[in-house]
């Protein structure tokens, strides 16, 4: 088996693992033994047991169930964010790249400015000012991140725009729309997807980080960063409050990071 084939096989494997994870998040209720919000005062801060596989938290909620539901929130937010910045970045980058001239310059000045902001700082400020919550978190993170995709799209479009095959397509009578849908889009898609795949892990960490600071998802909604924040006070006496959500973030981020890496190896023509 050649190196490339092996990589492809591994990519399919890790892709299915990630897919399984997403599926798991979607069907979390079927697996969760308990209501993630239900409190059980008879079992407060109890370690893992057969009733509560990962133990209970400070108000007697099932950590296992909360982690399962938390996957929903974390992954859901991440993918919403991904979609937002992807469509936004793609649309704007495409316009900038295709039109050129003054529109391009203007768009690029804006992205330059946003890019010259330290992103986390800016995101924190936005959530801080608009107030915590899922909506504002996603808003803030998309505000700071769309530029990356806009730029990438623009660079890719510009590269392709002057390529021989676009000239050839023009001479074959292709109109602007056709150029975009038939030639440019299919050819930049894989690079964009690779970049997205590489960024998923970082996005999850950013969302969890904001929640950890109390700026993102608010309690009682189960979210891993949020759970860690609440569990901090019991670090020594009930470590399972920290261990499981932390492991959950770590594992999922790791899986998506591997996915990103292999996606780059497999999909990105530059790395073939």
């Amino acid at each position: 088996m050649s190196n490339r084939k092996r990589k492809k096989a591994f990519f399919s494997f890790i892709l299915s693992v990630a897919g399984l994870l997403i599926l798991l998040a979607i069907v979390a209720p079927a697996f969760a033994p308990k209501d993630p919000l239900a409190t059980d005062f008879a079992h407060v801060l109890k370690g893992p047991s057969s009733k509560y596989p990962f133990g209970t938290d400070q108000v007697g909620r099932c950590i296992y169930s909360r982690i399962l539901y938390g996957a929903r929130v974390s992954l859901g937010m991440t993918f919403l964010l991904l979609m937002l910045i992807f469509t936004l970045g793609l649309a704007i980058g495409m316009v900038a790249g295709m039109s050129g001239g003054i529109i391009d310059t203007m768009i690029m000045r804006i992205t330059d400015t946003v890019l010259s902001f330290p992103d986390t700082v800016f995101a924190i400020a936005i959530v801080g000012i608009l107030g915590p919550g899922i909506r504002n978190t996603i808003f803030a993170l998309s505000v700071v991140w769309w530029t990356k995709y806009a730029r990438l799209t623009r660079v890719l479009v510009m590269g392709i725009k002057n390529s021989e095959y676009i000239h050839a397509a023009k001479m074959a009578g292709a109109g602007k729309l056709k150029l975009i849908t038939h030639y440019i889009f299919p050819n930049i898609l894989s690079s964009l997807i690779v970049q997205l795949a590489l960024d998923i892990g970082g996005m999850m960490l950013a969302i969890a980080g904001l929640s950890f600071l109390g700026l993102g998802v608010q309690s009682p909604t189960p979210e891993w960063g949020n759970m860690l924040n609440e569990g901090r006070a019991y670090m020594q006496t009930a470590p399972w409050l920290l261990i499981y959500p932390g492991l959950a973030i770590f594992t999922v981020v790791a899986i998506f990071n591997v996915l990103g890496d292999t996606a780059r190896d497999v999909l990105d023509p530059k790395h073939v």
């Binding site: 390529s163 021989e164 095959y165 000239h167 050839a168 397509a169 023009k170 001479m171 074959a172 009578g173 292709a174 109109g175 056709k178 038939h182 030639y183 299919p186 050819n187 023509p269």
Partner: protein, 315 residues
């Protein structure tokens, strides 16, 4: 040459590029070219002299700064939109790098059918049939319809490109070094193919190359370009006799020959002095025969008795 026989004419075409420092660079300078129906003209010159830019101007992939372009008696300078699309029905180009001409994610079949669908010449089914015919014409089986470009060799790809260009039955085909990325043996086949097709359909062509010998073998007339200017034009029957310009001579001297390998190359040991801006003749800094006037005054076109033109003070 009768005027109504002329299909394309470039009049005083110029093109400047701005480099990253904001300085201008004259890539094409006051070029006049005439192309008659069914004629093949060659444009030769060393790398960077502006051959491709010229080709791209003709194919409207680059705008020109000055000059006019007359196609079939109509001014086609600055053509846009629908008119441009119609122009492309008559003018097709074959690029240097065959693989670069293909979108990596488009099947050969789709690629071939594109123009016919775009120009609404035929529906999908007929376009498919026609594409297969075209493949046959360039000597490829219809199995290639379903392949991706990276599964074909350079020579095969160039055949596909030619097939597509021919399919539109254009009046002009521009070949920008369409064989120089290929191996000599393949090169030979492609040239052969082009000559055959020309026999059949009698299109006009502009053949761009840096290889004088190649140009000689297929073109009717040859334009020699140097630093954006056409410095000489002659019929290709007898290059060695007709070529007068020192630069053309230099080019001739640099052509290797297998058959006459014993011939010593004339060492044209001019210093490589680069391309500083000169007042006079553009070639004067490198010209072995340059004299005072060459450096002072730009030469004017001289028409020789046999119809060739040259831009030189001395000859």
């Amino acid at each position: 040459m009768m005027d109504d026989n002329i299909i394309l004419e470039l009049k005083g075409v110029s093109k400047r590029f701005k480099d990253h420092e904001g300085k201008y660079f004259q890539a094409v300078n006051n070029v006049n070219i005439q192309l008659a129906k069914g004629e093949c003209i060659g444009i030769v010159g060393e790398s960077g002299c502006g051959k491709s830019t010229l080709a791209r101007i003709v194919s409207h992939l680059t705008d020109l700064d000055e000059g006019r372009m007359i196609f079939n008696g109509k001014d086609v300078t600055g053509l846009q939109g629908e008119l441009l699309r119609r122009y492309y029905k008559s003018v097709q180009m074959i690029f240097q790098d065959p693989i670069g001409t293909f979108s990596p994610r488009m099947k050969i079949g789709t690629y071939l059918m594109e123009p016919f669908r775009n120009f609404k010449i035929m529906d999908k089914g007929r376009a498919g049939k026609y594409a297969e015919e075209l493949l046959g014409m360039v000597g490829l089986s219809k199995d290639y319809m379903r392949k991706y470009p990276n599964e074909l060799s350079g020579g095969q790809l160039q055949r596909v490109v030619i097939a597509r260009a021919m399919g539109l039955k254009p009046d002009i085909i521009i070949c920008d070094e369409c064989t120089s990325a290929l191996d000599v043996s393949i090169q030979q086949q492609i040239i052969q193919l082009l000559l055959e097709l020309k026999e059949k359909t009698n299109f006009s062509s502009i053949f761009i190359t840096h290889d004088l010998a190649l140009a000689e073998s297929i073109c009717d007339r040859i334009y020699v370009m140097y630093l954006g200017e056409i410095i000489e034009m002659f019929e290709s029957q007898n290059i060695i006799r007709d070529a007068k310009h020192p630069y053309t001579k230099m080019l001739l001297d640099s052509v290797f020959s297998v058959k006459k390998f014993e011939n010593q190359m004339r060492p044209t040991a001019t210093k490589i002095n680069g391309v500083e801006k000169v007042k006079g003749c553009v070639f004067s800094p490198r010209c072995p025969e340059a004299c005072e006037i060459c450096r002072e005054k730009a030469p004017e076109v001289k028409v020789m008795h046999n119809g060739s033109k040259v831009l030189c003070h001395i000859c």
